[in-house]
Subunit: 358 residues, 2 copies
């Protein structure tokens, strides 16, 4: 039996989108491939509210996180973390011999503009990395307000991990001053995993060009140059994902509508949070709760593995906690194609299995 995914990626993929993954192949140097890249870029610029260049990477979002911090950090990176994926950016820096400092918030608390201001005032940093949405803790950071701080520092590049939110929450890349905004396909975009993408500002590109030893496959300069030159990629990209992404972006922009999609995610998160607060408590502070994945404190100490096993028998899957909070939280994602009816069915099943008071 297929289990409906309420985990923070991979997500349920609409059957017609899934079918596009089976599109017959074309050459990656063909006019068909060029047209596909152009079409995807234009649509993503709309969804991301940007005129910056769009780059696709046949890798997970982690690949583009590495590309961004490795290519952009010339002096030192200030890495702000509200959970495991924020920590990951720091790990990536260490494994690439890139100078970086990590600024962690208290559990459940956001990265604040004040924290960023304090770090940047030192003059030590030329890169800031922030999570727009942290998958492990269900925290959505105030990226717009943080962007206002970063804008004051001319030489600082602003890198944002929007892996688990882009397509489900509004991110105004240009207005918020984001130099590189990263996501991958298997979260709010509602596609299978295997492709990630980012927007990149010209000033980030120019900064990267100054740097030696940027690597090869994940070198943003090589990607950018090839896309600018021919709307193609240095290496063979995942054309299957590109066919499906192009189609899905039409569904998002023209069928559902971008704002409607964001509103649906907000509405689902509100329903889920109300349910969670009735029976448990929420991990994230009220001012920074994610609209795409909700992290819930297991206050009644139920057996998570047993719950998920019983949910599987009814055709659902949710996630346990992640990293340090693996055993004391659990997570439910309401991403991509999730509908109110789907969510209510899931919550009803949990109520029933755990014997929660309705």
């Amino acid at each position: 039996m297929h289990k409906k995914l309420f985990i923070p990626g991979p997500v349920e993929v609409a059957p017609d989108v899934l079918a596009k993954m089976a599109t017959p192949m074309v050459g990656h140097r063909s006019q068909d491939a060029t047209a596909l890249q152009k079409s995807i870029s234009e649509k993503l610029q709309k969804l991301m509210f940007t005129e910056n260049t769009i780059l696709l990477s046949t890798s997970s979002g982690t690949g583009l996180m590495e590309a961004a911090i490795r290519c952009c950090t010339r002096k030192r990176a200030a890495v702000f973390s509200v959970g495991s994926f924020g920590d990951r950016w720091y790990e990536i820096a260490k494994f690439n011999n890139i100078e970086a400092d990590k600024f962690s918030s208290e559990p459940g608390q956001p990265t604040t503009p004040e924290m960023v201001e304090e770090a940047l005032k030192t003059g030590k940093y030329d890169v800031v990395t922030v999570q727009h949405n942290e998958t492990s803790s269900g925290i959505m950071n105030p990226v717009q307000a943080i962007g206002e701080v970063v804008k004051k520092y001319d030489d600082v590049l602003f890198l944002v991990d929007a892996v688990s939110s882009l397509g489900g929450a509004k991110i105004e890349v240009d207005a918020w001053g984001i130099d590189i905004c990263i996501t991958s396909t298997q979260k709010c975009l509602g596609l299978p995993p295997g492709l990630s993408l980012c927007s990149i500002s010209d000033r980030a590109y120019e900064a990267a060009k100054q740097k030696e030893f940027r690597g090869f496959y994940l070198d943003l300069v090589k990607l950018y140059d090839r896309v600018k030159k021919s709307h193609q990629y240095p290496s063979t990209p995942s054309l299957s994902h590109m066919f499906a992404l192009d189609y899905q972006l039409d569904r998002i922009i023209n069928e559902e509508g971008i704002e409607n999609r964001f509103d649906r995610h907000t509405k689902l998160a509100n329903i889920l949070r109300a349910w969670a607060e009735k029976h448990f408590s929420l991990f994230a502070a009220p001012e920074c709760r994610s609209n795409t994945v909700t992290c819930i404190n297991n206050t009644i100490n139920f057996d998570f593995a047993d719950l998920n096993k019983k949910l599987a028998e009814r055709g659902f899957t949710i996630s346990n906690g992640y990293g340090k909070f693996k055993d004391i939280t659990f997570r439910i994602a309401t991403m991509a194609e999730c509908k109110e009816k789907d969510l209510l069915e899931l919550l009803g099943a949990i109520d029933d299995i755990l014997g929660l008071e309705i």
Copy 2:
């Protein structure tokens, strides 16, 4: 109209394999994902004649080439090149600040065991990279004989690029002493692009562990450790490709048979070479001609773009030359699912368009 691909990747994908790309999603930390990884590994070990560990990478083959040379080179790499993709390994080294020397053969000539012996005798190198099959020049190198040389040097790791041959030509990884053997899905394996894979010996893993600054997404140690621990991957892999690969490996191993598949590739290459020698001449020397992609000298100076345009109208695509030989050679690939009938139709169409004597 769909154009049948006779280019050296992407290739035609069988309809039932393509359909597997549209398999509904499962969690990448689920038992389903674990079983899929195990199943793929066991089948690839058969196809690659190895007991080494199999790693998948959601990237193009270039990604794993970078992973291999970056993680394995502790002192200096000896990069042997018979064309553009051989050169790429050297470029990758340079962009990662890895010490390397390039040893290029004359155009059309293979890498020889003697060249490798001469380099290794200096004691300067701890890594040898060789192309099993060079896509740009249609050269298949004597990897078995080269392996015999490398075996004499205990501390030297043997990295082989089999991107455009594995699955179409026999490569006995363990018998030939290959430490890392790399391929990607969109060539002889007959799948869409978007996933690459390699075998890795324990001694290559141990050597990599000694090295600092191996990067993150393309760090073979992290991939190896996670696969060994749980048959899963550090980042979300392209599950769609994994579903299709698992299915396709059954077709290769159980339906067609591994040896039959290699024989079919040899037979097709022989037909193509006989045709090419009748009308043109072959780029590669007789002792090193590829069984998967044939590079042909355009001795009659026909207009390639015009030919390919006319072929497209008849539903075929072939490739121009690559890199330095872009304008004076052209290439026809006979990879993956290609049948004798398909090839004869293509050659008949070229005869007809160019007015070649039959």
